[in-house]
């Protein structure tokens, strides 16, 4: 059951990672009308249309992470403490904090993309998107590192 939840959590995170990366790049470096390269096509997406999906994926991923976290605290973390993986535990703590802050930013993020005001500077929207993108990337990478800490390369 825990493994299934962790895999679903990972799959949702992958979808979220893709969506937020597209949107962030499209926000800061919009492509020209006729994108030629792969990088140009990657950022040539209608950014606003990603907002709903990102909010839902982030919320679902946070919810699943919150459930899996219970098992992590009981089954995994004591082993990591005994093995002295303090840095990994510190990085994972940061992931928890960042995810909580990001979760609370979702309403403002959604408003910026779906109900933008005419006099609102686009920098606010871009900054909120970038913060969420950083949180998603951080969480994905740290979650992956902690998940694999006793596996390949250990």
């Amino acid at each position: 059951m825990t493994t299934a939840l962790l895999i679903i959590h990972g799959l949702v995170a992958v979808a979220l990672l893709g969506a937020i990366s597209h949107q962030t790049l499209a926000t800061w470096a919009p492509a020209h009308a006729r994108p030629g390269s792969f990088f140009s096509r990657f950022r040539a997406v209608p950014s606003a249309s990603f907002a709903n999906a990102i909010v839902v994926l982030y919320a679902v991923s946070a919810l699943l992470g919150g459930i899996v976290y219970l098992y992590f605290r009981v089954d995994i973390r004591p082993d990591l403490e005994r093995a002295g993986h303090w840095h990994a535990l510190g990085l994972f703590d940061l992931k928890e904090h960042f995810v909580a802050i990001g979760l609370a930013l979702l309403p403002a993020y959604w408003v910026c993309w779906r109900r933008p005001r005419a006099d609102e500077p686009p920098r606010t929207r871009g900054a909120l998107t970038s913060i969420l993108a950083f949180i998603v990337w951080w969480s994905f990478l740290i979650g992956h590192v902690v998940n694999n800490i006793r596996g390949f390369g250990s």
């Binding site: 004591p78 403002a108 408003v111």
Partner: protein, 121 residues
């Protein structure tokens, strides 16, 4: 139209207040609830094992505070959000919009600072 504006004020105030209150809750260890996953128990408030038994209890029944810190910040932010939603539009327009992304960014830096002890072990 009016409800849309009110939700906008709520959303921005909630995000800003949550970021600030989360750091406060983390620094002062103000968890609304403490979760003991091995026991399946949720206690109101912040409970440390040394309050009720020996330090070894932390290994037998690990306590989780993250849910509590998040709940504390969420509850406080909800109050700020509702207050902001009730305020007249002119009042909130004076606030620099940059605070709504700068405050969370600063809160994340504060979280890094508060997590530094892990990296000194």
């Amino acid at each position: 139209m009016t409800s849309s504006h009110a939700f906008r004020r709520f959303a921005f105030a909630y995000g800003l207040a949550f970021a600030v209150l989360y750091v406060v809750a983390l620094k002062l260890d103000l968890a609304l609830i403490t979760v003991y996953p091995t026991l399946g128990v949720v206690l109101p408030g912040t409970h440390h094992s040394r309050d009720v038994a020996g330090p070894s209890m932390a290994f037998l029944a690990p306590a989780m505070y993250w849910y509590g810190w998040t709940a504390t910040a969420a509850l406080g932010a909800l109050m700020f959000g509702f207050i902001a939603a009730l305020l007249p539009e002119q009042w909130t327009r004076r606030l620099w919009l940059g605070w709504f992304w700068l405050a969370p960014a600063l809160a994340m830096i504060a979280c890094v600072y508060l997590t530094m002890p892990w990296f000194r072990l």
